[in-house]
């Protein structure tokens, strides 16, 4: 049984959601709250599996702040944001706050049920157009050249040296090949290992293999 806490400032919505969800599809609505503060109190008291959280609750603590607080106090609880805001700014803020899912109130009922079931099992849930927006955001970041991983922070020279070191060449051999001093090679090597969080040469070789930098043909 999935135990749900419904949080919405509108009493008719809370009543409607309880009527729609309670006792169906293996779900039980164990309580409701009218704002974020009450939600935190009820969550601590009732220990639900899923908190169905409205985003905008003008009279009290809003859903975003409540999600942040809840995830600090009760990290195992899944928060599913149920909102009228089909807006990417809200979506990104909800995810950053620790929400496991984001679904629109206008979404079909079956989708709401499936979203609750997903987040209750520890998975994430986003409605289809939200997934597309997140993908677009990611692709835009890639196009704009924003760092996506530690590897992206390496300079061209550091990548070159990473490749040589991983292939087993000594500092002296690399220096001769690149026509730079051994000391410069050591500096680049030290910098790149720090950036990648690697400590030993075997770590570095494994890393280079994962990145497809080693070609043994």
């Amino acid at each position: 049984m999935i135990r749900i806490l419904v949080v919405d400032d509108h009493i008719v919505v809370r009543s409607g959601l309880m009527a729609l969800l309670n006792g169906k599809n293996g779900m039980e609505v164990i309580g409701d709250a009218a704002d974020g503060q009450e939600a935190i109190q009820k969550a601590q008291e009732l220990k639900p599996d899923v908190v169905l959280m409205d985003f905008s609750m003008p009279q009290g603590m809003d859903g975003l702040t409540a999600t942040l607080e809840l995830k600090k106090l009760l990290p195992d609880i899944a928060v599913l944001i149920l909102t009228m805001h089909d807006d990417e700014e809200y979506l990104f803020r909800a995810i950053q706050a620790g929400a496991s899912g984001y679904i629109l109130k206008s979404a079909p009922h079956d989708e709401l049920v499936s979203a609750i079931q997903s987040v209750a099992t520890g998975s994430a849930y986003l409605y289809p157009s939200a997934t597309k927006r997140l993908m677009n955001e990611y692709l835009d970041a890639m196009k704009n050249g924003e760092p996506q991983s530690a590897f992206d922070t390496l300079s061209e020279r550091e990548r070159e040296i990473l490749s040589w070191v991983a292939k087993g060449y000594s500092n002296k051999e690399i220096a001769e090949h690149l026509i730079i001093s051994v000391k410069t090679v050591e500096t680049h090597k030290s910098n790149l290992m720090e950036k990648l969080g690697l400590k030993t040469r075997p770590d570095l070789v494994k890393y280079a293999m994962k990145k497809g930098m080693l070609n043994f043909e």
Partner: protein, 153 residues
């Protein structure tokens, strides 16, 4: 002597005429788990509109329950054509626009009052207010219906 059923039928006919609508209907939320249907209709083209049974959460009643407020599907909504397919009453009655107002008593939705148009329509706020007033007046009537068996037109 006028019965509650007669009164509701008069209200729906009058609402349809005053709002210039093609269709009006009343859905009672008496037992959502058993399925919901438009118990009273006016201006319907076929009997199908009364035969549609909606499971809990489905269609316009489900949407109103999740939103806790009125739902207006008219020309102001870009994908109105697509939304029609999620709402069987719109397909059955060939409605291009609907305004659905919840009939409330405290925290509960007792029923839904709907008007519909078979041509592209943009509902004004004055018209929506008029339907909301009608919905408010229907609240005690629906409560009266609960005390006896619900018959329909």
């Amino acid at each position: 002597m006028i019965t509650i059923k007669d009164h509701i039928e008069q209200v729906l006919d009058s609402l349809r005429a005053r709002t210039g609508s093609d269709f009006s209907g009343l859905l009672l939320m008496d037992n959502p788990d058993a399925g919901l249907r438009w118990n009273f209709v006016s201006g319907n083209r076929s009997i199908r509109s009364k035969q549609i049974i909606l499971r809990p959460g489905q269609g316009l009643p489900g949407l109103v329950m999740r939103l806790g407020r009125r739902v207006i599907l008219d020309d102001s909504i870009p994908d109105i054509r697509k939304l029609r397919f999620d709402n069987p009453i719109m397909l059955a009655e060939n409605l291009h626009a609907v305004a659905v107002i919840p009939i409330l008593k405290e925290r509960d939705i007792l029923g839904l009052l709907m008007i519909g148009s078979r041509k592209p329509t943009l509902y004004s706020s004055q018209l929506i207010e008029m339907i909301e007033q009608e919905a408010e007046m229907l609240s005690p009537v629906i409560e009266g219906l609960k005390s006896g068996p619900i018959s329909s037109r």
